[in-house]
């Protein structure tokens, strides 16, 4: 008897829970959807999520822990510093006349695409107005199409992957930093311009980053018989466990080619430091090319013990001033930047200059501000329209003016070839 009783009771409970749930189901989500999709005749525009009359929420999904946490924290801290300062001044006046404060929400993706995809879901649930500024190709790619589906702007992402600036492929996206090909091409063009014959050795990271740089360079020197690429070596990148421990064998091998130009697309700071020291030690003194994210004078060249005379020339492609260079710290804008970083950064031990990404994020924040000031309605569409129509804006620390109107190119397009002068970099047009 007891058996059947408790059995029945259990089933009864299950059944009633089911019944209640079904009733809830009938009214909750299905019912909720009907109202907004009904008539669309009201005069006032329905604001998008994440924006009120006084605030706007912006989400950043980026690596905050793990092997890429250094630059990752920078992508948050630059924006926090910039908008922190603006908020303290009362906020930003939007194109619709309202003054809003910008709230930055950061989400750790550990450089793991699956986490960044989950972060996107969370950002939508948290009601961010737009998201972006985050670092990483696979992590941004993981939610690119989800952002398109959900119509959430994914803007000013820190990856040189060209797909983010392709308006057809990526209708709600925009890249911040120049695409890798542009940077590689800038060096190639300057090398061609000096007219001398050159033998080039290349070391690149075997991913979109390294391959993009190399492709840009190759395209720029193509058809020029003076310039011969004598050897290309690569290495497998990857965070944490598979981060290459040292690349000196590649440098040694490339030195054996006797090349006089070393095109080096390596994104891991300590490895670049080692390579610079290594080549000098084994007596190989080519002209160097460094990518923008691992060319910091204070963070890379000085620790490597490199001076102006070590190599015939160290060239980097830059699109922003380097916070680690003395002129930056002495300028008014630079002082304001460091003060803001000191006040608002949330990442641990952030000095604002160990990685360039803090400055890039600061530039990105200015571009966002431009878009905010131009958007006339509190909607994502209006924001994207505004963002895509910035032209001739001179952002602090950025070379050249910002132009977001060109399909296929990111917000920062002006890349300059720079030569190391012992302290910082000076812009040059020709290698040599």
């Amino acid at each position: 008897m007891k058996t059947t009783l408790s059995g029945r009771r259990a089933i009864a409970v299950a059944a009633s829970v089911g019944a209640i749930a079904l009733v809830l189901a009938g009214c909750a989500r299905g019912g909720g959807d009907v109202a907004p999709t009904g008539e669309d005749t009201s005069a006032a525009v329905e604001p998008s999520p994440g924006i009120t009359d006084t605030t706007l929420t912006f989400g950043i999904s980026t690596p905050l822990t793990g092997a890429t946490a250094g630059p990752g924290n920078c992508t948050v801290d630059g924006a926090l510093a910039y908008f922190g300062t603006k908020n303290a001044e009362g906020g930003i006046t939007f194109g619709d006349g309202k003054t809003r404060k910008i709230e930055i929400k950061s989400y750790d993706d550990e450089y793991n695409p699956e986490k960044s995809a989950a972060n996107f879901n969370q950002m939508v649930a948290d009601g961010v107005f737009a998201a972006g500024l985050g670092l990483g190709t696979p992590t941004n790619r993981a939610w690119r199409e989800a952002a398109i589906e959900a119509d959430v702007p994914q803007v000013l992402v820190m990856t040189g992957d060209p797909i983010f600036s392709d308006r057809t492929e990526s209708p709600v996206q925009l890249g911040l930093v120049p695409i890798y090909q542009q940077e590689g091409a800038a060096f190639g063009e300057a090398l061609v311009a000096n007219g001398q014959p050159h033998k080039v050795a290349a070391l690149y990271q075997n991913d979109d980053y390294g391959k993009g740089y190399l492709q840009g360079f190759k395209d720029a020197v193509a058809g020029n018989p003076n310039i011969e690429i004598v050897k290309e070596l690569s290495y497998e990148p990857g965070p944490a466990s598979s981060t290459p421990n040292y690349l000196e064998p590649q440098v040694t091998e490339l030195a054996g080619t006797g090349a006089d130009v070393f095109f080096q697309a390596v994104s891991v700071t300590p490895r670049v430091v080692e390579n610079l020291a290594k080549a000098a030690a084994i007596g190989w003194t080519p002209i160097w090319f460094l990518p923008s994210n691992t060319a910091s004078p204070g963070g890379v060249l000085t620790p490597a013990g490199v001076t102006e005379t070590t190599y015939p020339g160290i060239y980097a492609v830059g699109f922003s001033e380097a916070a680690a260079a003395p002129p930056f710290a002495e300028s008014e804008a630079g002082k304001a930047y460091f003060a803001a970083i000191a006040e608002y950064a949330q990442g641990p031990e952030q000095d604002g200059k160990a990685f360039p990404h803090c400055v890039w994020s600061w530039i990105g924040a200015q571009i966002l501000e431009q878009a905010f000031e131009k958007m006339t309605e509190p909607t994502r569409d209006s924001f994207l329209d505004a963002l895509y129509s910035i032209k001739g804006f001179d952002a602090q620390f950025a070379f050249g003016s910002i132009d977001t109107t060109v399909d296929g190119l990111p917000a920062i397009q002006t890349v300059s070839l720079q030569k190391f002068n012992g302290k910082g970099y000076t812009n040059v047009d020709v290698v040599g």
């Binding site: 822990t65 793990g66 092997a67 946490a69 250094g70 990752g72 924290n73 075997n206 070596l233 690569s234 290495y235 497998e236 944490a240 466990s241 598979s242 981060t243 290459p244 421990n245 040292y246 000196e248 064998p249 590649q250 040694t252 091998e253 030195a255 054996g256 006797g258 700071t269 300590p270 490895r271 430091v273 080692e274 020291a277 030690a281 084994i282 007596g283 190989w284 963070g299 620790p303 490597a304 013990g305 990442g347 641990p348 031990e349 952030q350 000095d351 160990a354 990685f355």
Partner: protein, 304 residues
């Protein structure tokens, strides 16, 4: 540089880099001998130790001058690591003495997670240059080949440590006790050996050894919280290939896989630098299948 010069250069560089893997492998062997487990947190502890050394060194430098400051920093790091290793063994790992193998492994993984999180929060993620107290970036040239002072210092330090450990293991009462503990702790305890003390000492020594390696590495390529993540994987491979109970085996295997990897990358085109990481791990497979106790290890007798 002629092709032969390149070859020699690869060998020389492999020896120096392999020494770093070897040092960590040595630390893993030491812990295994003392407590019969494999410490996945070894690299994390090494990084923590060197950050402590850096901090203390930087505090001292204004007062005592840079060279002495750095040296004292390193001494402090070694002492701190000794203490850290002992404390971790006594208050964390001791709890898992009788636990099963997988629990112990996971405990050290938890430790690694904890330490990595802590280091990142305290010292941040910026790569920090580690001062070297004499011309580490200087190098000697012999013909085409250049050998950096760093390489020489690293290699000789590690080989010296290996020799000391080998003597310690095979030739002293301490080592004998350690082996007795590793073999059979209860009977070692009955024989009057202070098992707990030996275990703490083993952990402490291993942590100090790892810290020496981390400092050597950092003085070449800066200090980051994740400095040793990739190196740990190589060190484990070296330990498996060399044998868990053999200090010499661990170091020789570490040097061997590093050189083999570089040479395979340079001279076997279809491997190249993209796939060179595969080389040591394929070797791990091969060695384990042919000689599961490692090339230098002793076969354990399985009792029923």
């Amino acid at each position: 540089m002629n092709p032969f010069g390149t070859f020699i250069q690869l060998l020389v560089d492999g020896l120096a880099q392999g020494s770093i893997y070897g040092a960590l492998a040595l630390a893993i062997v030491l812990v295994n001998q003392a407590t019969g487990l494999v410490n996945f947190a070894q690299g994390g502890m090494a990084v923590l130790g060197s950050y402590i050394g850096l901090t203390i060194g930087n505090l001292l430098i204004p007062g005592v001058g840079s060279t002495l400051g750095v040296v004292l920093g390193i001494v402090a790091a070694v002492i701190a690591s000794l203490a850290l290793g002992g404390v971790v063994e006594r208050f964390v790992m001791r709890r898992f003495e009788r636990a099963e193998e997988d629990t112990k492994v996971v405990a050290t993984i938890g430790l690694l997670t904890l330490i990595t999180g802590l280091v990142g929060l305290i010292w941040g993620f910026n790569p920090t240059p580690y001062p070297f107290f004499f011309g580490g970036s200087e190098s000697l040239r012999i013909g085409d080949v250049s050998i950096s002072v760093w390489s020489i210092v690293t290699f000789t330090t590690i080989v010296a440590l290996m020799v000391v450990l080998q003597i310690l293991f095979r030739g002293t009462k301490f080592g004998l006790g350690m082996r007795a503990v590793a073999d059979n702790a209860p009977s070692a305890a009955l024989a009057g050996i202070r098992v707990g003390g030996l275990r703490m000492a083993g952990w402490g020594l291993a942590a100090a050894l790892g810290t020496v390696a981390a400092i050597l590495l950092a003085s070449k390529s800066q200090l980051t919280p994740n400095n040793f993540d990739g190196i740990l994987v190589y060190a484990l491979a070296a330990v498996v290939i060399g044998g868990l109970d053999s200090p010499i085996g661990a170091v020789v295997a570490a040097l061997g896989i590093t050189i083999l990897e570089s040479l395979a990358a340079a001279y076997i085109p279809w491997i190249g630098h993209d796939l060179k990481v595969v080389v040591p791990f394929v070797l791990v497979f091969v060695v384990l299948i042919i000689r599961p106790q490692g090339l230098f290890g002793r076969r354990a007798v399985v009792r029923v």
